[in-house]
């Protein structure tokens, strides 16, 4: 690795050396409590798949370039020079971590490995070894933001074709259309994903509640965050913020995507509108009597998987449980749950990578948790989690069905 590349990477590290980052990099007693917090280590018990193992990969490089002990006494300071091998280890650390932050909850010092890995991901961008899949996805999302005028009509036309599905589910039509877009004066802007399910089911629910809403032209998911590129993350998030401001909405509602929710709700500072998850909105509609569901419609055993970014990192725990509680007669909690729930292994952009064997292995604890409940239906509220739970299901041959919460509600509305 040449000096110029080392300079690029260390400059990027320096750009992320906030006070919390320095605290996390300097402070670790290696007590090892985090070992048993990580779903990856549970499935693949190797040191490199522990939170402290990942953090130490980064810390050794940090000490070499940012601490006198590592610079002048590298052996004593356990420092490591940047080279291709070191960067391979940084990549393995960064992209074996989903950023679920379960280790942080269990760390006596609250060391946030997910935050540390944002520095690791930035170093990979500087080294030009970030996963190509995520670079492509982030660049496409940025391009979509820059040239949305070129793509609007094509998207609008296909969304129009979904009207008939919404009509069938809802049992009625509307002269103004059931999936409004560019709807100035709407109260709600809803940001979905590329798949029809993320548009149709919420559309049924919004219409049933009599909501004044508009579908966003942009997908909620933020590939800039998965890639670890702060500028792209901000640009991708701001596409939706700008659209919300332009339409003058009071509330931005985020689809079942944990990362999108956490970024739009918790990482953009103060916005001139409220940001909610579709899960919170459904719960609100139910409590206000704006929608009704078929009480106790589902009698088979059901469990709920808390998506890490919606639950532990987003604070949405009780809303999904209240919704499921109205619909299901045999709800069974996983153990542990809520802020201590195990990550399924699909976050952090990992579902986009060519790593299915790794994800099946790292999903072992989730398999064990689900199996212990005896549930036949696993409900969750995050696209990445649904993908990963499906991978776990087929990887271990589990006899369960995985469903989105919105799908469960839309299929069981009293209309």
């Amino acid at each position: 690795m040449n000096r110029e590349k080392i300079g690029t990477i260390t400059d990027l590290m320096k750009s992320r050396l906030t006070k919390p980052m320095q605290y996390y990099l300097d402070l670790c007693t290696r007590c090892g409590l985090c070992y048993d917090s990580c779903h990856v280590y549970y499935g693949i018990p190797k040191r490199e798949y522990t939170p402290v193992g990942r953090a130490e990969t980064l810390r050794r490089i940090f000490r070499k370039y940012f601490r006198p002990s590592g610079r002048f006494f590298p052996y004593w300071g356990e420092a490591r020079e940047l080279d291709d091998r070191a960067m391979e280890e940084v990549r393995e650390a960064a992209f074996s971590c989903t950023g679920c932050r379960r280790c942080m909850v269990n760390c006596p010092f609250g060391i946030d490995t997910g935050y540390l890995m944002t520095m690791a991901k930035l170093m990979l961008i500087g080294n030009e070894t970030a996963p190509e899949e995520l670079v492509i996805l982030a660049d496409s999302a940025v391009e979509k933001g820059k040239s949305i005028g070129e793509f609007k009509e094509g998207f609008k036309s296909v969304v129009g074709d979904l009207e008939k599905i919404v009509q069938e589910k809802l049992g009625r039509s509307s002269p103004d259309g059931l999936i409004p877009m560019d709807n100035g004066g709407a109260s709600v802007l809803y940001a979905g994903l590329a798949g029809a399910h993320s548009i149709v089911n919420p559309a049924v629910i919004f219409n049933a509640a009599g909501e004044s809403w508009s579908l966003s032209f942009f997908e909620a998911v933020n590939f800039g965050a998965f890639l670890g590129d702060p500028e792209k993350m901000q640009f991708i998030a701001n596409r939706i913020v700008k659209e919300a401001i332009q339409l003058g909405v009071k509330e931005l509602v985020i689809t079942e995507c944990g990362t999108a929710y956490r970024i739009q709700r918790h990482m953009l500072g103060t916005l001139p509108f409220k940001v909610s998850s579709i899960v919170e909105v459904i719960d609100r509609y139910l409590r206000e009597g704006r929608i009704k569901v078929k009480a106790g419609a589902i009698s088979e055993p059901v469990t709920y998987h808390d998506p890490c970014q919606l639950g532990r990192n987003g604070g949405v725990f009780e809303e999904p449980r209240r919704i499921i509680g109205e619909l299901c007669t045999d709800f069974r909690e996983m153990t542990p749950n809520r802020e201590h729930n195990w990550c399924c292994g699909g976050g952090g952009g990992l579902v986009a990578l060519d790593n299915e064997k790794f994800r099946v292995q790292s999903g072992l604890v989730k398999r064990d948790q689900i199996s212990a409940t005896g549930a036949k239906l696993v409900v969750t509220a995050c696209e990445n989690c649904v993908s990963q739970l499906d991978t776990i299901k087929s990887g271990y041959g589990m006899d369960v069905e995985v469903k989105y919460l919105t799908e469960l509600v839309a299929d069981n509305l009293l209309l």
Partner: protein, 80 residues
Amino acid sequence: MSEEIKVDATMDLKGLKCPLPIVRVSKKVKDEMQVGQVLVAETTDPGAHADFPAWAKTSGNEIVKVEKGDVSKFYIKKLK
């Protein structure tokens, strides 16, 4: 009369969850297609109608034809 496009490969992306359609198409075009060849990507995602053109623009490839339907078909020509 429109000129018939010679198709070199077809990919079934129906029902795949976010973000796999773009990931799979991108990998296929990069690793398995020759410059000038055409891939037909079949998808049920409405979002693909904005996502695929944006991807083509950033990756320097061309969408030469789109057949819209319950299953939409994107004819993607590898340009580089």
